[in-house]
Amino acid sequence: MVAAPKPGGDIDLPADMQRELDELETKGHRLTHYQLLSVTPDADGATVRRAYLEASKRFHPDAWYRKDLGHYGPLLSKWFQRLTGAYQLLSNEESRAQYDRDHRGELSQSERAAMERRQLSMQEEERRARERRERMLRTKGFARIGAARKLYEEAVEHAQNGERMQAIFALTAARELDPNRKEISAKLTELEREQARARARSALSSAQEREEKKLFAEAVTVYAVAFQNDPTSHPAAVGAARCAMQISDKRAATTWAMRAVDLSPDDLAARMMLARLLAEAGLKSRARTELTQLLNRSPDHKEAKQLLRTL
């Protein structure tokens, strides 16, 4: 056996891998997802996937199974997970678009140009797809059923490539052509729900960012958007209540706190906030109800006891 040069002592990992990991550790955090996967920002879904699969051949811990990796072991696992995260984010058209918007500033001139090229070509494609859908919608008679099936298949393909909007457009047209086909409406509802949830998630994180920057008025609005898209989102309701308090919009705060308590009856902090707001608004009996509810759950709650006494 020929001993390869091992700068890291007895570590059984090729020198170039060691170098690559060291480099990632120092500079990797500043790389965009595109740079991490070594693709250009105009790469399509299949290219991104291939790049990820190629990279995983070197970064998946199994590629170095039972090798003595020293401190490189955890690094390998960490960067494999980073690659997976980047791949997953970029393989969904919606999260990719959001990522592109958020990280425009980090791209070089040529990368930005590549991204814009891709966006333009996507817009062009979208325009053509729209025209085609409109043409198909004008089909008559039995051909409508066939056209609907075609659109449905395209929609599933779009959904697979993470192009949820495209899929929804195609399905909406398909449903108009063939309103009786159950799988079309089922798929449409499913995608619309997914879309709402995705929107809620992205709104929630951008609201949280605004809250951290103490832009409370904006945060309330964005939390509200998150809640509209996902009416079961407790963090959105609580966040909105918290921020409304900060800008002393008592009425809004009360409404949001009520929603938060409805969604998660065990959130004592939200209930306490609600009780306080109700008490301040002079709605004593309702405040008392909330406090009793709270004390039922946590009999030793000092703040609640105190407020109850003053009422």
Binding site: H60, P61, D62, Y65, S77, D300, E303
Partner: protein, 611 residues
Amino acid sequence: MGELVIGIDLGTTNSVCATVRGGTPTVIPNRSGYRITPSVVAMARNGKRLVGALARRQAVTNAERTVVAVKRLMGRRWSTKTTQETLQRMPYSVVKGPHDDVRIALGEQEYSPPEISAMVLTELRLDAEAFFGAPVSKAVITCPAYFNDAQRNATKDAGRIAGLEVIRIINEPTSAALAFGFGKAQAERQIAVFDLGGGTFDFTVLHMFKGVFEVEATGGDSLLGGEDFDSRIIDSLAGPFQQKHGVDLRKDKMALQRLRDAAEKAKCELSLVKQVEINLPFISSTPQTGPLHLQSTLTRDQLEQMTGDLVQRCMKVCEQVMGEAKVLPAQLGDVLLVGGQTRMPKIQDEVRRLFGKEPAKTVNPDEAVALGAAIQGAMLLHDEQEMLLLDVTPHSLGIAIAGGFFQKIIEKNTTVPTSAHHVFTTVKDDQTSAKITVLQGESEVAGDNELLGEFMLTGLRAAPRGQVDIDVIFDISADGIVSVSALDVQTGTRQSITVTASSGLTEDEIKKAARSNEDWMLGQKEDPDFQDRKARAEEIIREFEALWPRLTRAAQNGLGQEPLQRAQAALSVARLQLAQRESEALAASIDRLERMLQALKGALERGKGAP
């Protein structure tokens, strides 16, 4: 040449062992020369452990001490409904174990499911050692993709008890895909694996590109398999019989075993012919009627009718998984059929209908899984294999939160290794400890999911509720091992556990079982004289066989049937001893057979003289 490593498909009804030799995946035949070993274990009346075909052959006469389909009990808790339902159909007796697990009573002893599986694994290990002529200690074992953590750990424990280091547990459908993709891995394509085995159903969608196999989505039903098809046939036979004679054959363990064999045989034949006869004479008797016989015909149409819902359940899973993988049937390059039950024409028809294409014919449904496991073993241990498997977690992972709800932290179908974290806060003032309950499953209600483990995070700072943030971090390694750690964000207090869902055995119990298995194996070590005796015995058997036509003629001409019957009995005893490698007993048989042979030859000589 790297270390020896074997791949084992530890099936519900049959097991297969394979390895990669000279770059080619190969099935390792067992010591009797067969490529498949039934996953059956029995305690013979003399207390001897029987495994495989031998155990299966004596199942009818020893139903209560023969364990079949133990895979269905792996990693299951006694007190669940599914376990209790499974037990209804087991002919052997199962009792509650000390850790709410199940134990199988065999004679005086009680065994856990991993111990029984270990007996099958030990047999396969001995086969492999005979094949290589060298000790084997490393193995990749497969399990259904839908197995949860407890079931996987039980499988791993079985390996340890059998003295094998289980370097990886991999999913059966993925394994089959590896076998299919071996050698044509450069092409890029999407494939699906439809795996209907003896006890479980799995469906997996994979993407293949330059040697990397990426699992996109997987799903299944861990209680749907060929045995359920058999059960339908059993019910269709036993039901009318009960109406006619008032006897429920399913309550009689011996009759049930005969019914089970007949049902399985009928099912297999109906894959080839349209109609079969089922004949079970003397299946039962009552004082009023005397002996009762079961005679019936079964057509393929009838079988399809009574199992239609089972087939539909499979198809539902396929549709759901394809939805999760966001793939259309038409986009799949190949559909592989794995597992014996996929030989049923109705299933092939339904697969053809759903996917709009012929299933791939290049994989052997019985052997592909073991071959894939062997390939994975070589991929991990031997550098020359330029292949990689990116597998996913089959179940979502999370923790129980207030109100009895389940908070998912890692979604199912996430590529492993992976990690994720979630920040929780205290719910009471001055709360100094928090219990973290780790669960696996898809239900929003915590109690409906599988419990992986619980741990307490203690030493939290005393503070008003909501002021202490606890960061819970989940890690799943490439091995599928889950570890959870919790961190008090403000103080930096950290606590972690490796969640090893209990397989039903404690560490001590596993070690003890492994030791006693090792002892058993030492007891099995061959008598140095065995090979000589074996050669001699085989020679005598051949001589008898050559002589047999003359003997039967002589029997009709005055010699009588009796000496022949005695010879026949002695021969079958010797054959059994050969198979069980009983050296001492075989020596005695050789003596007896030699004397018989001399006597019979003498009789033939004398007979020749007479007209």
